[in-house]
């Protein structure tokens, strides 16, 4: 699957110079009464066409905020304080509201976690889909747009799409509603699709259907997908590239197989070891001791230092004082950890 994705990239860009999306040093802070919450604190990300990049991390690590920052949907008191976002070479953070709203839905679209609460309960799903097309594709005749709605619903695997278009969201199951959301996401053939935990609210058998659909769409439409999840199993199935986030930063970025084969960051190692894996019974699960530090007063040094076993084992003093940079340890596999400093130089 990775090979295939690589080939696709090869067609579009020669040496990866023009990645579909490039995020550099993104910082999104929230200025609250009790202090500055550094929800996203220096995130770099790169997505190519036909690639699924998974952002994985625990709740509060800033993975959803990264997605919302890309679309510039961050609400007050939060704002992007630093960083650049390039969509095919075009800078996004300097764009005004009007330019951004033209971009949203047509070139970048987003799928949210809860399909039921993202759909408007008082309009038929067909009408809601039509709205997307009316905004971004008003040049096309109305009858043709209506036909497109039916085609879209068929494309996401909804049986009897003509009849289903006149259903209200409450008449659909969770899986069906999420398919409608996906249809809405791909309605204007975007370049980039951001999916924020799209299957977390669904049952496993329905999740399997939706993941299958998203993989199919990725191959057919050759779009880039940012897939946000906390489930390592989903990551292993979907991702080409994985970015592991912890307390507002990316701590490790690697191709999927490389990450699972040899996770480098102690946090990633702990995360992978702590999941119960079906078919591999362990009497005791490994745990990561302690909890995530508060985002308001982050300790200096590495954010993971207080919970890190490797730090104690290797007796690293540096971790508590100085924050490591994301460094490439082997090809495509970068990690933010002092353990690998010597290997790097």
């Amino acid at each position: 699957m990775i090979d295939k994705a690589m080939q696709n990239n090869g067609n579009n860009s020669s040496n990866g110079e023009h990645a579909l999306l490039e995020v550099r040093g993104l910082k999104t802070h929230f200025f609250t009464r009790s202090g500055v919450v550094k929800a996203v604190d220096g995130v770099n990300l790169r997505v190519k066409r036909g690639q699924v990049v998974c952002i994985v991390g625990e709740s509060g690590c800033g993975k959803s905020m990264t997605a919302l920052s890309i679309l510039q949907l961050v609400d007050k008191p939060g704002r992007i304080v630093e960083g650049e976002i390039y969509l095919e070479g075009e800078e996004l953070t300097s764009k005004n509201r009007r330019e951004m709203s033209q971009l949203r839905g047509s070139r970048i679209s987003m799928i949210f976690q809860e399909p039921r609460s993202s759909l408007n309960p008082v309009f038929k799903v067909g009408k809601q889909l039509l709205e997307v097309l009316s905004i971004h594709k008003h040049a096309i005749a109305k009858t043709e747009r209506e036909q497109q709605v039916v085609d879209l619903l068929r494309a996401v695997g909804i049986p009897d799409p003509k009849k289903r278009a006149s259903n209200y969201p409450h008449e659909m199951s969770g899986g069906m509603a999420q398919r409608v959301m996906i249809a809405m996401g791909i309605a204007c053939a975007p370049d980039l699709l951001i999916a924020d935990e799209p299957t977390t609210a669904l049952d496993v058998t329905i999740q399997a259907q939706v993941l299958d659909l998203m993989r199919k769409l990725r191959d057919e439409l050759n779009i880039g997908i940012i897939f946000i999840t906390h489930d390592m199993g989903v990551v292993a199935e979907m991702a080409d590239i994985v970015a592991v986030m912890y307390a507002g930063t990316v701590v490790e970025e690697a191709p999927t197989e490389s990450l699972f084969e040899e996770p480098l960051h102690p946090y990633t190692q702990g995360l992978i070891a702590s999941i119960p894996i079906m078919g591999e019974f362990k009497d005791r699960l490994d745990v990561i001791p302690g909890t995530v530090p508060s985002l308001i007063d982050m300790p200096p040094g590495c954010r993971f230092a207080s919970r890190c076993r490797a730090r104690i084992e290797h007796n690293l003093e540096k971790c508590l004082d100085e924050e490591p940079e994301l460094m490439e340890v082997r090809s495509g596999h970068s990690v933010r950890c002092w353990l690998y400093e010597e290997q790097d130089t």
Binding site: D203, V204, G233, V234, A236, F260, L271, I275, F281, T291
Partner: protein, 413 residues
């Protein structure tokens, strides 16, 4: 420790139906058959996993077993006594033996109560309060005293007064006076309560906190001061404080992050061994179930479709639904490439479930009989129970070359 025939809980033919009311007259417009006839036995000292997708009725089973929801039909024997027959008086002491831990640790804790008081609440409800003793005897007498003149008075009135309106009103008044006393008596009823002093309560709360890995100083804090994992530990401490023998855990780790989830799972496993608890563990996550449970029951649309020990179920899943469920679980290893069974369509509505075998509408292997006859849950060998027409024990299927019978023959111990 695990005596195979020592069942702490025995559920027989349990049905829980919810009536849907609609229209001006609030007539019953439909019946949701959340749980529709299940049999399940839980051995003393084991962890039984109940797994299924949302809406399959697993939570309803957990609640009906504790009588938090009234069952429509069936029997639930706890330590040999049918729970569903118990009166509030006889049920109360039994409740101490059975506790529950809820899914969402945030909404199951009172935000305005300090957690010390939250944990102590159970003990206070079951505490014997001496000053109430004479009152409760008095109230019981009063209850009798209102009952007898009620009937005598009504008979007398019936003879003297021929006015039905006044009679009706009097019946109403007397009835409500009687039920007021009855409620008061039930509230103050002390039968089966435990004698415990304030300092003992405090000690028990501290013990419970220590068991779940929290500290003494935490008693004076409010729920919002804790992280998700700690809140779930508080929920577990609250269940443990009454020294129960049986705990229902309703998706206790679903709301937690993976690194916290593993801490709580390890804790549950330790507590079960230390305190010799019997647990009914309800979850939708097969990997979590496998890690914790000794035996597993799989539910689909209000029915149990398969029951087997952990080793047996994961090595040799029999029911087509269990097989599909297992193949749908993403495995965190990109190198395992499996043949996926992707089920078509959605779970049918429990308001109008399919006839006969409920899974036949989505089953890949369905044959004619599946839509006509409902398969019973039968032992197909080694205590592996399965409800499917295509999975029969060897004896019922003389043709030895059948795949399933070969499988059950091969499967060891």
């Amino acid at each position: 420790m695990k005596n195979t025939d020592d069942f702490i809980l025995d559920i027989q033919g349990l049905k829980v139906h919810f009536e849907m009311k609609g229209g001006i007259l609030q007539r019953t417009t439909g019946v949701v058959k959340a749980v529709d006839g299940i049999d399940l036995k839980i051995r003393r000292g084991e962890i039984l996993g109940l797994v299924g997708e949302s809406g399959c009725g697993k939570t309803t089973v957990g609640r009906a077993v504790l009588r938090l929801i009234d069952a429509t039909e069936g029997e639930v024997y706890f330590e040999g006594k049918n729970l569903l027959d118990q009166s509030p008086k006889t049920l109360k002491p039994m409740r101490r033996q059975m506790q529950i831990v809820f899914q969402d640790p945030i909404s199951s804790l009172d935000p305005r109560t300090k957690i010390g008081a939250t944990i102590a609440e159970g003990l206070k409800v079951h505490r014997l309060q001496r000053w109430k003793q004479p009152f409760s005897t008095f109230l019981a007498l009063l209850e009798l005293a209102t009952d007898i003149p009620l009937w005598l008075g009504l008979r007398w009135l019936h003879k003297r007064l021929r006015e039905p309106a006044i009679l009706g009103a009097l019946i109403g008044i007397l009835g409500s006076v009687a039920s007021f006393f009855r409620a008061l008596a039930a509230e103050w009823d002390q039968t089966g309560n435990i004698e415990i002093s304030n300092s003992q309560i405090r000690q028990k709360v501290l013990d419970a906190l220590q068991k779940v890995g929290l500290e003494k100083t935490h008693t004076n804090r409010f729920p919002h001061e804790f992280s998700g994992g700690q809140r779930q530990r508080i929920g577990i401490a609250r269940a443990l404080v009454l020294d129960p023998t049986f705990i229902v855990l309703d998706e206790p780790v679903s709301a937690l992050d993976v690194s916290i989830q593993s801490q709580v799972l390890n804790l549950l496993k330790d507590l079960q061994q230390q305190l010799d608890l019997t647990l009914l563990f309800i979850a939708h996550n097969m990997s979590v179930i496998e890690h914790l449970c000794d035996r597993i029951a799989v539910m689909y649309l209000g029915k149990i479709v398969e029951v087997a020990s952990r080793e047996e179920l994961f090595k040799n899943p029999q029911h087509p639904y269990t097989q599909a469920l297992m193949s749908a679980i993403p495995i965190p290893d990109p190198k395992t490439k499996r043949e996926r069974i992707i089920l078509e369509g959605d779970v049918p509505s429990p308001l109008n479930p399919p006839r006969a075998c409920r899974f036949h509408t989505r089953c890949r292997e369905a044959i004619e009989i599946c839509a006509i006859d409902e398969p019973p849950l039968i032992d197909i060998g080694n205590g592996h129970m399965c409800a499917c027409h295509l999975r029969q024990p060897e004896a019922a299927e003389p043709t030895g070359d059948d795949v399933t019978s070969v499988l059950s023959e091969v499967s060891p111990s």
